[in-house]
Amino acid sequence: MATVEATTVRDTHRPEWVENIGGQLLALLTALGIAVLLGSVIVIAYGENPLVVYSAILSGSFGDANGLGYVLANAGPLIFSALAVSVCFKGGMFNIGVEGQFIVGMASASFAALTFTFLPAPLLVLSVLVFGVLGGMVWAAVPAILKVKTGAHEVVTTIMMNGIAASLVAWVIRGPLRYEDIGGGFNVNLRTDPFPDAAMIPDLGHFFGIASSARLSWVLPMAIVAAAVVWFIMRRMRLGYEARAVGASPGSARAAGISIGAVQVKLFLLSGALAGLVGIQQLFADQGFLPAGYEAGIGFTGIAVAFLGQNSPVGIVFAALLWGVLARGETSLQLETDVPREFIIILQGLLIMSVVVTYQVAKRRLFSRQLRRAAEVEDLHDAEASVDIEEAGEPGSSREVDR
């Protein structure tokens, strides 16, 4: 009896990585399917053909080079934002403050661009990037230190820091960095001085025949490099190992001699540094000044993209592209169908909700399967042991004896 059971258990045992990747893909495809299906229901309720709508969405990005350029240009900020979220997530923390960190980073980057105008172009750009990073890190340091020193939960403190950041940046634009060269426009009070040309990130699109209006700049390669760096830190460096240990089980991490507080602060600083670069694309490759009311919501969208990419750097790059394709679909949707363009935001919401729920369900199923298998293996050992004992002529022995 025992041997028969043993073979069946061994036959159904697939390698762990196959199960992981297969499970991830299955979960992702299921989530996509659910979202597309629910989206179709809305489209049909609206009296349109879902196939027409979805192909219109795709044609916006893949119809011509400029559409693709737009998607790529918008992926950069999303990658930075999602990486910032994922870094904290790996350590078991939730940084909802990416939005605040990014707008503070942009205010300090704008300060650098308007102050160090005497620097040559490469150095000025570098100082803009450094100040963006520093601004984000300073804003991320507050909730991190409060968490470690006082136990204040980072979710609430980062939400509050977002509120403070919005007011602070509004004040900066109204006060210290105000637009002084008052021209004829009606909103002259609502932005900073224009940045010098030397502070701007050069265009990248013209190498690939993409119009400069798509604003594809060197920010995208920077974001991909950042993703590679985050991968390296998380997979090949001590901080990454410690972060995963803390995220998986703080108790075991502490027992292993890891200083949890130090890891949490380091992760938050790394997260803030990445968040500080979120606005570079929009400010220094597109607009050329810091407008008031600069709450683009990319910090929150980054959370969605991080979920979609399951907090892995590679996944995040692809998730950011997918998000960009959907966003780009707004325009073509309006041109080619009667469905309002806001359908895209609904579709994005459906996608992210179904991803979150599907992964949660998948994780639980995987967990219970692993538990069951562990139990089966244990039974198997017991069974084998008792068979051995039976052969040895000690039929009365029980499990307790084996253990």
Binding site: L146, V156, T157, I159, M161, F300, A304, I345, I352
Partner: protein, 321 residues
């Protein structure tokens, strides 16, 4: 009149109080049942657009006080329907409550725009100057001397509703079996279950109630205060309500005080910009006070707050593996 501005500021503070208090009560029910709700802002947003739409559609048929009232109730109902997503995700599918709340806030913007295009033919606003309930003067208080009476002059009936709301909320939470059980689900769901309380239905009810109150607050903002729907009109008030809830230590009576203080902070830049001392502070710094106060309190520098013990954790059920 030197105090005239002060009276006017209190009047505005009462308006903000109504929004923050109603939304905060929503958060109170949800978190007391063990479900953290950072999606309050999103639920408010859905309330603003549906409330405004309901008012615009129903006022011609129902007449004046009833049309806007129906609009506000529609906003509350829409908030509850929207909150059911949060309930389904967190209670049934046991998705992380913070994650779900973030998604709720993200989705709300899209839902609002989508509904607005259908209802008003434009994505980010409705026609301005929509009908509202007739404002009322509170007898006695509105005749206070030195201009203080301005505070109670021409206020929306909903302000009084918000003030009276504390009675049913306090009673239901602390004097009924339902409230005791709801709170026990938020403190120790395992103990509640062992005494025969079914945790999930209570959490569902609390989250739906939470959405209804936040939606009502949003509808009040759109219908009674701004007289139109505009994208972004909630201005993060849902998060300020969350801050007030923390400051109140999850208590409906103390929440009134917190909501009024934070409401007053919102009113200062609008009416007391030229007052001595206060006028010297940039309005942006006054606007950030609710957040700063909350961080200070949370960090334990002043006072001590304790959230419901089980808030944030999914209830695994008695058959948990």
């Amino acid at each position: 009149m030197p105090l005239g501005d002060f009276g006017a500021a209190i009047g505005i503070a009462l308006t903000y109080f109504t929004i923050i208090y109603l939304t905060g009560l929503g958060g109170l029910f949800s978190e007391r049942s063990g479900i953290v709700n950072i999606g309050l802002e999103g639920m408010m947003i859905v309330g603003t657009v549906t409330g405004s739409c309901g008012t615009a559609e129903l006022t011609p048929e129902l007449g004046l006080p009833w049309g806007p009232l129906a609009g506000i109730l529609i906003g509350a109902a829409a908030g509850a329907i929207f909150a059911s997503i949060h309930a389904l995700a967190t209670v049934t599918f046991k998705v992380d409550q913070i994650v779900s709340g973030v998604v709720i806030n993200l989705v709300a913007i899209g839902v609002a725009r989508f509904l607005s295009t259908i209802a008003f033919g434009q994505a980010t606003q409705s026609d301005s100057g929509q009908p509202r309930m007739d404002p009322i003067d509170i007898p006695l208080l509105s005749s206070l001397p030195w201009g203080l009476g301005k505070a109670f002059d021409g206020i929306s009936p909903m302000v009084i509703v918000a003030f009276l709301m504390v009675i049913p909320v306090w009673y239901s939470l602390y004097r009924t079996r339902w409230g005791l059980r709801l709170r026990s689900c938020g403190e120790n769901p395992d103990a509640a279950r062992s005494l025969g309380v079914r945790v999930s239905p209570y959490r569902y009810e609390a989250v739906l109630l939470s959405g209804a109150l936040a939606g009502m607050a949003g509808a009040f903002l759109a219908v009674e205060v701004n007289l139109s729907w505009n994208e972004g009109q909630t201005q993060g008030l849902g998060f300020i309500a969350l801050a007030a809830l923390i400051l109140s230590n999850w208590n409906p009576i103390r929440l009134m005080g917190a909501a009024f203080i934070f409401g007053f902070a919102q009113a200062i830049p609008l009416r007391l910009a030229h007052a001595p001392i206060i006028g010297a502070i940039p309005p942006e710094f006054i606007r950030m006070t609710p957040y700063v106060v909350t961080i200070v309190v949370l960090a334990g520098f002043v006072g001590k707050v304790r959230p419901p013990a089980a808030a944030g954790r999914a209830y695994e059920g008695s058959t948990g593996i």
